[in-house]
Subunit: 134 residues, 2 copies
């Protein structure tokens, strides 16, 4: 079953592979595997919590902002909306994180809160339970 192969590939990968990275890795040994299967299995595996998914706003869309000052954002995982979170931008993070990573020089950071926005919460209440995709 290709799902095992996919899982094993992710587990043996030291970094943070993209779907294509995994495809490259597996197809060396199993040249007939399909990319669609890799995408499907990675998605399933991370939904199941068996592997992690590193993402933020992973819909491939860039969002722009009339604010240019550093601030944080909330991301509704139901409708995809991005809202401002008015926590003050904390430069101490950089100082805290700096000594942890030898070699990686940090210039800034982004903090994204995942959750559900008010509108979607209200819709949920009305419509009763509704599956949350993603």
């Amino acid at each position: 079953m290709q799902k095992e192969l996919t899982y094993d590939a992710v587990m043996s990968y030291s970094g943070h592979p993209s779907a294509d990275d995994i495809y490259q890795m597996i197809s060396k040994e199993h040249s007939s595997i399909s990319k669609a299967t890799i995408y499907r299995n990675l998605s399933i595996l991370s939904d199941e919590g068996k592997i992690g998914r590193v993402e933020s706003f992973a819909n491939g869309e860039v969002h722009y902002d009339h604010r240019t000052d550093k601030h944080y954002h909330g991301h509704c995982r139901k409708c995809g909306r991005v809202v401002d979170i008015d926590l003050s931008y904390d430069n101490d993070f950089v100082a805290k994180a700096l000594p942890m990573e030898d070699g990686f020089s940090i210039t800034s950071h982004e903090l994204i809160f995942e959750g559900i926005c008010r509108d979607c919460r209200e819709k949920e209440k009305k419509n009763g339970t509704e599956g949350i995709k993603n």
Copy 2:
């Protein structure tokens, strides 16, 4: 000049518009404007710092991780690599942010440090100054 239109549209937009949102907005008044122009101008404007860009790993690629525990990441803005940052996951953020946003219910957060990884730093040293794209 369409760059002005693009800028004005972003500034008058209350939320966090995507390129398509801006296109929809402008094309109502200027039906002949091209989507490519919107993309080009948004990109230029945010490079110039005149508007903000809300993104993380904004290459449209999802990265997977053999770790499933919550932790933070560094993103090399030169080569795109994702590295682990071993700061402990701080659940207090949620508590701190919760009261700020009425209606938005937070379930988790992501913290991404932007910077330059060791490899790219070393390459820079060797090759002298080299433009950093993006």
